[in-house]
Symmetry: C3
Subunit: 249 residues, 3 copies
């Protein structure tokens, strides 16, 4: 049994963080909250999402099968997002009918019902690879998002790296080059070092749209290594982590 109530704006922020990488996925519901881990169709990007039960104004979960294993449902996040976009900032009441395999959503007098997806029809939940990131950068999210927007005007690939105590993002076009360089004192945190990795800009651009409500973003970096982007949702009661494979230079 799952029933919960949450601010529509908070739920929208969470769903947007997920749809930056995948349109659908397996959502795991437990007494502690919601969890998701999914890869995009090209296997290049992964999203890990957690939302604590105290992000909800009301949260009730019990697993009839016992075991405390949690409930796994297949969700079409894009469909849900379309409907959340309509209302104002109001409360959304969610409940799941496991028998009928449906999610019920209620916003005031508006009721929205969507079929759950058969979990076996969805891509397998990816294993999170064991990664060690030699460098961590924590920065203001607006610096990050603005640079990505500008970078999209210039090229298709973006270099993220550190050089001494400077973090930089760099994109090259045929005729031009854009570079954001932030010194340690302009960042919230920086591990000094000398390394960089190259990424496909499209993925990072989609991710940067998925973090529109966060205040800071944490980038974990290596040398020709995946990029991990972490940020909070739901005023700190939820966590999102993106993982993006590097390009070979």
């Amino acid at each position: 049994m799952f029933e919960a109530e949450i601010d529509a704006g908070v739920l929208k922020e969470c769903i947007e963080a997920i749809t930056a990488v995948v349109d659908e996925g397996k959502l795991r519901i437990s007494a502690e909250g919601l969890n998701l881990r999914a890869v995009d169709p090209s296997n290049v990007a992964m999203v890990t999402f957690q939302l604590q039960n105290d992000a909800f104004d009301d949260y009730r979960f019990s697993n009839e099968d016992g075991e405390g294993e949690g409930l796994e449902i297949g969700m079409d996040f894009q469909k849900l997002l379309g409907i959340l976009g309509i209302g104002g900032r109001e409360q959304v009441r969610l409940s799941i009918d496991e028998q009928a395999q449906k999610l019920y959503t209620r916003m005031g007098s508006l009721a929205y019902t969507v079929n759950l997806l058969e979990p076996s029809s969805l891509r397998k939940e990816p294993k999170v690879p064991e990664l060690e990131f030699p460098v961590q950068v924590v920065m203001d999210i607006e610096d990050f998002r603005r640079t990505i927007r500008a970078a999209e005007k210039v090229g298709e690939h973006i270099l993220l790296g550190v050089e001494g105590d400077e973090f930089y993002m760099e994109v090259e076009g045929e005729m031009d080059k854009l570079r954001l360089g932030l010194k340690k004192e302009q960042l919230i945190h920086l591990t000094p070092g000398t390394l960089h990795s190259l990424f496909t800009l499209d993925y990072i651009a989609a991710m940067s749209k998925g973090m529109s409500h966060a205040e800071t973003v944490t980038l974990n970096l290596g040398k020709d290594y995946p990029l991990q982007i972490e940020f909070e949702v739901a005023g700190g009661k939820g966590k999102v982590s993106y993982l993006l494979a590097p390009r070979v230079e």
Copy 2:
């Protein structure tokens, strides 16, 4: 002779209510005001429009032919709307040259002249069928418009009905279903009953854009029966009525 002056915003609101159903039509001008009745090209939707002379800041009409019959002109409403969209909220002066078959429009220093359409080239003015609606619902226009916007994300047909003392709008997609249910106390007025009719959503969506300035909307309903939508324009000095044929379920 017809000459009149009206607030540009009010005129725009009126023309938008008409173009929600038809691009062109026969406008009847009399000493009492303006009237129009027109069907859309597919013969599924009808608009009836009335605007009293006191919606105008100045209104002069006299029929040289005597008879007090009124003047009938063919109008391309889309063309007029394009021009009204440009200016700010100012006064528009309208006059008609019957000899030259032209409408003169003046907004400040800007003069816009458009040829009238030959009335015989336009679709015939429809007869308003004699209808009796067992159920009437009066509701806040924002509830109506928001639901229609959400419904467009879900499906193509919409069910409007009452069930006891609840009015509902319901749309089904392949995977999902959206339903707005409003109890009598959430409505301005409701005739209780048990009936519904199905409509093509596109038409209602266009109509809901045509009523953007109204505050309340009246829905007259039957069982597998046309829908009549009524609302006011020009601060109550004009009335619009849409009639929409039902779909066979």
Copy 3:
């Protein structure tokens, strides 16, 4: 050596005035400021642009070759504009590396480098023809821009003329006609006369977007003669002049 600093909004306003006519051109830099003169690819429109050094918060120029001749660089203005559109209203620092043939642009921590274009690859700087305009009209820029926006809904060519002490702009569609007529007292200045010229509306529409920050615009007119449009940028510290060939009626 060229190095300068300017408000990003002011620079954007200047570049937009140029890109209303050309995407790229030869910019001449001297101790006094910046200059450009360029024709559009179809040879129908010309832009002349001047920006005084005191429009900058810092301006340093010295010609190593001596002579005080000024430096001529080939610029892709569209590329620069894309990047300026991203940041907020902040300072932009510009510098040129003549050896490397690059323009360096710095906005806070964001550095943007763009290759200069080979001046010989660009269209030749046009000669400004010797023209005498019998009529000059100075008007509020909003009247001008609004009329052009409305005119685009009606037709493709626009007539600009004076008739006695009235200035008018007129555009005809197949079914309709739009005319703005401004009497001497509604204008800032008017030379009375009787003449008009016809122009392609697309060019004037692009130009009207290029002057979005000016307050007044000066139109110099003749009979079946080019149109000269003049306005200020950078709060009066820059001047733009467009020249547009007439159409044969």
